[in-house]
Assembly symmetry: C2
Homo-oligomer: 403 residues x 2
């Protein structure tokens, strides 16, 4: 009998009614598979607990934060296990410490290092369905450590790894991964199969279905992931290795962002290593510099440097650059009205002219490109934010994603 990991997000177990529905989904798998369930907290619970901690302090202890919020999964898992037992199914809720799920020990942002599969395997062999708390683990000092937002996905992937599951199904409140955000573009189509690499680009670029590090973990461990909705019975999206995800499209998806900001440093005194001098203190302050373009200025002694960061990092970035005594510049300008539009697809590796088609399609719409960056399977352009949807729409048509 094959083993499958099912993960249910917060909205999927958001009420007793939803928990009853999820119990039925689990039952439908239990005839064919050994089932391992990972559950998030009921939607709203975690935020409610966090808001209580904020009434105490905005710098509430990380250690107690983890103890506090992990109560959310304890509630949802015991209710779900209780529902399954009520339906005549052998089930039991498991918290991280009962297994245990061991983490690297950091509070609020832990990563799972090891899962002891002995006790869960024994329970599976006895015909039970373990309902396991996602998002949490324990460190060497027997303290609860959570693994950050979206952590239950990571928990599910790690269970698939350490319990040699054949597949991991991520049940969420969207139907799968779309060619672009279906809330913004009605013509967006659900993608049947996508490679880990493409999904990673989609995830980092603003598609909110899964956290990048969970996809990366799945990729490294060759675990097939199916993303689907617990609110419908439709087929979802399979995230799998590249050779299984082949389709005859050049481009698999298009993403656009709305939380980027552009920083331009004008008249920077040029010398070898100047870029490192500028970017090192930013990196040390966890500011992620994304797209970079440097122009040599007319006189050859000065240069203009443009780069993008997350909008939320803008105030910190201003401070750090102003304080940096190792650089001399004439002026610093900012632009929050930008959007990064990207086309993603493994198909572009073997197809010449993709860049040209993209630029031509944007030019036809009179959209000016400010910065360009490319990878093997992705081309991103920075444009004025007001043109973002027009760009996505025209590229969606250009690369025939609607069909």
């Amino acid at each position: 009998m094959k083993t499958i990991v099912l993960k249910f997000g917060g909205t999927s177990v958001g009420s007793i009614k939803r928990i009853k529905k999820v119990a039925k989904i689990i039952k439908s798998y239990s005839k064919k598979y050994r089932v391992i369930v990972l559950s998030s907290a009921m939607s709203g619970t975690t935020n409610k607990l966090i808001s209580m901690s904020k009434k105490i302090s905005n710098s509430f202890s990380d250690q107690e934060y983890d103890a506090l919020v992990s109560a959310g999964e304890q509630i949802s898992c015991s209710l779900l296990a209780g529902q399954l037992i009520e339906n005549g199914i052998k089930a039991r809720s498991w918290m991280a410490w009962q297994i245990p799920i061991l983490t690297d020990g950091k509070h609020k942002h832990s990563r799972i290092k090891f899962i002891n599969n002995r006790i869960i395997n024994k329970y599976l062999r006895a015909g039970g369905i373990p309902i396991i708390a996602g998002f949490q683990g324990v460190n060497k000092n027997s303290q609860i450590t959570t693994i950050g937002r979206g952590g239950t996905d990571a928990s599910a992937i790690m269970f698939a790894k350490f319990l040699n599951a054949d597949r991991c199904v991520i049940y969420t409140d969207v139907e799968g991964v779309f060619t672009t955000d279906p809330n913004k573009l009605k013509k967006a189509k659900k993608i049947k199969k996508i490679s880990y690499e493409e999904m990673l680009e989609m995830a980092s670029l603003g598609s909110k279905v899964m956290q990048p590090h969970s996809i990366q973990d799945a990729r490294l461990n060759r675990i097939d992931i199916e993303v689907k909705s617990s609110f419908s019975n439709k087929t979802g999206t399979l995230i799998t290795k590249r050779k299984n995800a082949i389709n005859n499209r050049i481009i698999t998806g298009i993403s656009s962002t709305d939380n980027d900001a552009k920083v331009t440093l004008l008249g920077v005194k040029d010398r070898p290593g100047i870029a490192a001098t500028i970017f090192k203190p930013l990196s040390e302050n966890s500011i992620n510099v994304d797209m970079v373009v440097q122009n040599i200025s007319s006189n050859g002694k000065e240069t203009d440097l443009t780069f993008t960061i997350k909008s939320s990092d803008l105030p910190k970035t201003k401070k750090i650059i102003t304080k940096n005594k190792n650089i001399t510049l004439k002026k610093m300008v900012f632009d929050k009205n930008v959007s990064k539009v990207s086309i993603i697809g493994v198909g572009m590796v073997t197809t010449p002219g993709v860049t040209f088609r993209m630029f031509q399609a944007l030019a036809k719409q009179n959209i000016n490109i400010q910065v360009i960056s490319t990878s093997e399977i992705k081309i991103s352009v920075l444009i004025n934010r007001k043109n973002a949807m027009k760009a996505v729409k025209s590229l969606h048509a250009e690369f025939n994603l609607t069909k």
Copy 2:
């Protein structure tokens, strides 16, 4: 430095505002004592969790019930520990599994068998204040087992025992133990000191301050308990051994019940062992028979038997007696309009005439006594419920409890 256990009930930690107040109380002890804190769930939390489980099933799994409701203490303890840390005090929340607190394994009604004091002692020596989840323990299978309603008191007493504390302070929402229910009789006075034995009678007879088995545990382990309010700064009641609790009163307190029912079996065919034949099946069904009186009927071959039970056990009792083929009786009658009024005091052991004074005081009020039962330190009478308050009032005056 002496060790003290502080226990806070649900209303004491019922809001963030209350948690801030409790943190101040804890701090005030931390200068003089090594402090161990036991906390209940925030008031309302447990009931909310239970009501969710009831939406799933009225016979919700006991195992999952324990996992579910114990999340309540996890929330209150981490918030309280977080508040102390915010106030610059070294603190950490501890769940049962982290210590561990071992129980006999029964779900919903466990008893604490053993507490490993190693890790908590180490933390105390390091100057930390452990904030420990009451009401919960773990069994040999690493499952959470709760110890029933009012269980945090029991947890506190057990911590005082296993960590050799010098005193246990039970912080609650009442100011202490009163001579009788202050909500019913305004003249009721707070008792400064009371013996375990008297408190046990007060507790079993309807004074809701503490559960009898917690008092019994304290008595067996000679742990002084102070009951006081976290809502005021007033001195509470000290529950201690008899020789420390001596006062010059004959009677320490008066209690009355309103959940008793009287059952009378008329014309029972008399033979040796008939009482056992009647009571054995009741006991086997966990029905607690309290007061019993048997009259030989006129012809000598039949007897009338009267006894009291909890009102809630009445339907079960009717069924069991009707089904009992080993007894023959003419008629079974019930009366729910009864109240058991008791006077309690170690002083009565050495004072003759207490019974007479009680009966005379009731007779003066024209109150008819239906059943009597006595112990070394208690006299109880069953009367019509409508006379209960009149009885309590007159006895309160008769034995000078108002002064």
